[in-house]
Symmetry: C2
Subunit: 337 residues, 2 copies
Amino acid sequence: MRVSLKDVAEHAGVSIKTVSNVVNNHPHVTPAMRSRVQRTIDELGYRPNLAARHLRKGRTGIIALAVPELGNPYFAELAGAVIDAAAEHDVTVLLDHTQGDREQEILVSQGFRERVIDGLILSPLELEAEDLGGRDGDVPLVLLGEREYDLPYDHIAIDNVAAARTAVRHLLGRGRTRIVYLGARTDSANRPAHLRLDGWRAELTAAGLPAPDELVGETTGWDRDDGAYAMARILDSGVRPDAVFAYNDLVAIGAMRVLHERGLRVPWDVAVVGFDDIAEGRFGAVTLTTISPDKPAIARLAVRSLLHRLERPEERTGRRLTPEYRLIERESTLGRR
Amino acid sequence: MRVSLKDVAEHAGVSIKTVSNVVNNHPHVTPAMRSRVQRTIDELGYRPNLAARHLRKGRTGIIALAVPELGNPYFAELAGAVIDAAAEHDVTVLLDHTQGDREQEILVSQGFRERVIDGLILSPLELEAEDLGGRDGDVPLVLLGEREYDLPYDHIAIDNVAAARTAVRHLLGRGRTRIVYLGARTDSANRPAHLRLDGWRAELTAAGLPAPDELVGETTGWDRDDGAYAMARILDSGVRPDAVFAYNDLVAIGAMRVLHERGLRVPWDVAVVGFDDIAEGRFGAVTLTTISPDKPAIARLAVRSLLHRLERPEERTGRRLTPEYRLIERESTLGRR
């Protein structure tokens, strides 16, 4: 059973108020009383109620993190990193998923649970700048992910164009020249896929190679089955790629399944690079080469930015913070060692 | 910009209170006024603030779901199902992960954020019955998962022993007789692994086969690398299994990677069955046969049980609800078709 303030008070033979004063470093406590209560706290292993301590600062000690899809391991892993980063500041994280739906993202960003949370970290997919312009709540907001907004909120994302170029450069370095980009979403002009698509195109162009539309595989989502479907369509169209750069690891994993079914060997016939470095890519018959964004850094920067805003609500300039990424080379481009 | 109660009031030329009365079906509104306000609501596309409606019932409209690990796709998928099930009742879900740590589970179960949530759905790993016995909060609690507690809380879990027997029976039906159980955790007597381990043993015994300890692979966790490590250790010990029944899909996926590295073909040399039916198992070079718990049913029962408790706080008997499961046969036992 959890030790309460009352248990400590009874055990030390003092009032609950006195124990509370000691826990909260209230000045009107004698050193003798402080050490007597502290001894009991240590003996019983009492842990002060953090929620109450936040409340004294007019806060709940709770921040919200809204991601598009928890079924996507990248977001599940990122959420774990944010929970860990927040715990270092004694802050609890409440997770929400928006399913990448604009309405849901608006609802979340407008702070419909303002009474509950001190701030919000939002990773939007479909949200438009105008949706945030109308935001009238006082709840601080930090944005994550590839969507770029010209708005006074801190925005944390790796350099997606540069990362995509790194991935394509790696494939070029392995002698590949017919490199498919898998996971373009053309239903919106501002989608993150286009930054990575831009990087793919820029790197091919820099290498003096064409980047024709027939090498671009469109998808309606970024899950495994989207990757499988797009890969099958490209192969069925008669295109014979020697490499695939996928929008994310899930799309890459779907593509690898289809390559396997068609008897094409990864990496010998077709090399594959993903994006996200989800745990799943480290297993399977062929481990996946991928761009690994520094998730702990993203999480740490997001939490710190939010807490900074809480301390300085008057600041209204949006900072652009750019965590590191690296290429992790595995069997899908190097083969089995 | 989101339409507010105030916008509707200004547009309809009535007071905010009147709009509120209409939205909340207050009896003292004339039919004429009601239709005038409703017309403006429809025109502007105003959506009433659900949080406010819950508040009138003395609730926040928020329930918490605490799972051990969001990095485990089973829990991420289950969380998505709970969010969907709750949305049908206009309830928002706040997700928490406890990392399967007893202290964290106690903290969550003791309702440290009572002011925020109406109720809690908790999937514990290490929590002991005595930890819940000391619970003094009024926040209703529903338990998920394999741990059995003799306590007055509703508990929702599939029949793990029967499900494990189904998995083993399938392997026996494929002619396998040296079936390893992978993922026993022996650091606690009550761990869920033991229900599935019991099922494995019972089914082998019923078939007149031995179930020696050398066929039991112990792990310290239930992730992919735990499965890989345990599988390698069993093979290194000289045991030559013709099948593996794994505690969950992640353990099975780790085991399959090691079988692949050792040149053992799944299913021809070693057939593999997992548990959970995570999306990952539907892809890869060899798709995974698995026990698929009915996650939407688990989620629906959990939310309904919690809301039932909210309506009838005086009820103090714990019900045991047992959702369905089924065996999904894939390549890891059937081979490629």
